[in-house]
């Protein structure tokens, strides 16, 4: 079986496995509706662009992020708990391919969840979806998904390597919403928190989506957020690769893959 076929098979199998869990069903189908409703009730009436940037994109992004943080990040640990981590690791298909397949599967579910949130706000609350440049938006979204997948790969390995990081998993949901400015601009946060915001890809991911959906959009206005997102993505690819080597060493040299 070629690597591409293995990857495709992993994606399909993992999509079925993930959605079989009741909690994941809740995250994908129900949670976005709660977030969207909450966001629209808080904002009430505002300009269509503000509502789109903060309510539609914000709650949609919350749905996307929840899918990533509560699945990709914990999938390796779930395999460890099931006792299947070692088996996946020594199978002929490289472990990285399996992990990337899982992340792509969860990202696809996250995207579905995000679209559900958009549709819900459009038809139930009659909000305008101001996609002035649909093609540009879709291109930006592709980069955003790629960046979040890379960040997810890094998180999954960090949570695998350290019990301390794993304790963070259930804690990081709201801090990320806050620090990355999902529902309001990060310029509103204290300067020292903004410093943390700048090194997290989700900050630039949602900023890029906001930049490409402004009426005064031009290549100049999105250049900064786009460059920042791409640069951070490349940086996290390297960190992810380094963590992957650490995990490989932990498994092959120390025989401690199944434990911390």
């Amino acid at each position: 079986m070629s690597l591409a076929a293995s990857l495709l098979h992993t994606i399909l199998v993992h999509m079925k496995l993930s959605i079989a869990r009741p909690m994941f069903k809740f995250i994908i189908w129900i949670s976005p509706l709660f977030y969207s409703t909450l966001a629209i009730f808080i904002y009430g009436k505002d300009s269509p662009e503000t509502l789109f940037h903060n309510v539609v994109l914000g709650s949609g992004f919350m749905a996307l992020w929840s899918s990533i943080v509560f699945s990709s990040a914990s999938d390796v640990n779930r395999e460890r708990f099931y006792g299947t981590l070692e088996i996946i690791f020594i199978s002929p298909v490289p472990f990285a391919v399996t992990l990337i397949g899982k992340i792509i599967a969860n990202t696809i579910w996250g995207l579905i969840s995000m679209i559900l949130s958009f549709v819900y706000l459009k038809f139930v609350f009659q909000l305008d979806l101001v996609f002035y440049h649909p093609r540009v938006f879709l291109t930006a979204l592709l980069f955003v998904l790629l960046s979040l997948a890379v960040f997810s790969f890094f998180l999954a390995l960090a949570f695998t390597l350290s019990r301390q990081a794993e304790a963070l998993m259930n804690f990081i949901e709201y801090p990320i919403y806050l620090i990355c400015g999902f529902l309001f601009p990060i310029s509103y946060l204290p300067a020292w928190i903004q410093g943390i915001s700048y090194v997290l890809p989700p900050t630039w991911a949602i900023q890029l989506l906001r930049d490409v959906t402004t009426e005064t959009f031009s290549s100049q206005t999105v250049l900064f957020s786009f460059t920042a997102l791409v640069s951070l993505t490349v940086l996290y690819i390297f960190i992810g690769m380094y963590f992957y080597r650490l995990m490989d060493k932990k498994a092959r040299f120390h025989g401690k893959l199944g434990v911390y």
Partner: protein
Amino acid sequence: MEAVQRFIRHGFLSYKALFGWLDPKVYLFVMVLSPLSQLIFFSTLVNYVYKGENLLGYVAANALLLCVLNAVFGIMSVITSDRWMGTLPLVMATPYNKVSLFLSRSIAHVLNGLVTAAIGLLFGILLFQLTISFQEGFVLLIIWLCSIFSGAGLGLILGTFCLWSPSMHLWSNLLASLLLLLSGANYPYSRMPEWLQLLGQFTPLTRGVQLTKDILNDGNYSNVAVLLGEEILLGIAFFAISFLLLKLAEYQSRTKGTMEFD
């Protein structure tokens, strides 16, 4: 007296059993930092959207929300942890009164919820440089205790669902989302459609949140007696339903032997 001592002793033993084997860091993350991060997120959000208007009421309402959620989750975990550890059949088979058993186990979680809320409120007050008087604080304590009582009743109802369903996380997250939405902790209650407002009248917290906002934002104490009475009645109704469900589960476990199966 012996019965009361046993009741209290059992509650604290059960609480220690739940957290005794955990790393203190996990406790800190789950019971303190995680709720605090939720409070800071929503307080910052409403502060941005409403430009600081009525912020104290919203911060306190979010602290109350955390307090009730913590108590509710704790009470749900009382039942689900038994299921998880395989001790549920032993608990259900014991001749000891189940209602009394689960109530005694709930006490520590209610206190834990109050501690979390106090930390949250204090943190919010310091963070946003707000002030609260002793009188307001005292009245809030009474209101919050009533809301926790009502929330605990609902928590026990959902806890009994876990006797039939293995999806504890699903139920607890569904409840958390519903309470977050229906309580009006982060927006004026009138913003909700009428049918949601009506639904909100049957959930704990709604009245507690309304009173918290009335007192801290407007200094209005006129609704305290009526709304607290309603909150207590709602709590009594929830506990009555949960006791009936417990009895049903106990009966089914003896007659069908399907407890712990999906």
